[in-house]
């Protein structure tokens, strides 16, 4: 390591408190909550999309052949 890097490293070590990299709690319960939230959000969005498509099809039945063609 170059001398100037060494100097800066010593200054950083003095200034920044050491961190504890040990995990003190199992994060899986939080992860599960995150997964549940996202799944719930996706199904809500799916519902809105479904409603929008249904409303569009009812209002403009002529688009049905075009939609089927796109599928």
């Amino acid at each position: 390591m170059k001398p100037e890097e060494n100097e800066i490293r010593e200054m950083l070590r003095q200034a920044l408190p050491p961190v504890n990299p040990e995990l003190e709690a199992d994060l899986w319960p939080r992860m599960l909550r995150r997964l549940d939230e996202r799944h719930a959000r996706m199904s809500w969005m799916d519902r809105i999309l479904l409603l929008a498509v249904s409303a569009g099809v009812i209002a403009f039945p002529a688009v049905i052949p075009q939609l089927l063609y796109q599928l």
Binding site: E5, L12, E22, L27, W28, M31
Partner: protein
């Protein structure tokens, strides 16, 4: 378990995870959460933030599961994603993390240890997130350059270059704050 059986088990776990099996994801999460959290903590230097970033990392991993190649090492892949998440976290909260107020001047004249440390923290917090991550891992945590390079998705030479630029910027900031390294 012999070596062949272990390799088969890891491959099978990776394959099930890639197919969206939640039990396989849980197993991988429990195996790697400590390592991912430790790596992120070394970059963001804040435990609460590191916990949030660990969850975000595994969320991104879960979303990207279909792209996971079961023949690759899950830990290395997770560390790469964790590094990106940690850098995003540094970008989002640069001042709060280091406790920095950008515009507060350091008093001129001889500088006491506490003021010196404050100036160093401030200069460190002003580094761009990518440089701060490289400096934290290489200079403070002394992680091997090859490991940092793999996690950042860059070459070892690029890591050295980032560390060098960090040192230069820190020296410049400290000179501006009238602290001579």
């Amino acid at each position: 378990m012999d070596a062949m059986a272990e390799v088969h088990e890891v491959d099978d776990l990776g394959r099930r995870f890639a197919e969206g099996n939640l039990d396989a994801f849980e197993t991988l999460f429990r195996r790697h959460q400590t390592e991912v959290f430790g790596w992120i903590t070394r970059i963001v230097r804040d435990q609460a933030l590191a916990e949030d970033a660990t969850i975000e990392t595994f969320w991104r991993i879960y979303r990207a599961r279909a792209r996971f190649d079961a023949r690759r090492e899950f830990g290395a892949w997770a560390r790469r994603i964790a590094t990106n998440v940690a850098i995003d976290a540094l970008k989002a909260k640069p001042r709060e993390i280091a406790g920095i107020e950008r515009d507060v001047p350091v008093a001129p004249g001889p500088i006491a240890d506490a003021a010196m440390n404050d100036a160093v923290r401030r200069a460190f917090g002003l580094l761009p997130a990518k440089l701060r991550a490289a400096a934290s891992l290489a200079l403070i945590e002394e992680q091997p350059h090859a490991q940092i390079a793999a996690a950042l998705g860059i070459s070892v030479a690029a890591v050295k270059s980032r560390v060098h630029r960090s040192v230069e910027l820190l020296r410049k900031s400290l000179r501006r704050l009238q602290v001579t390294p």
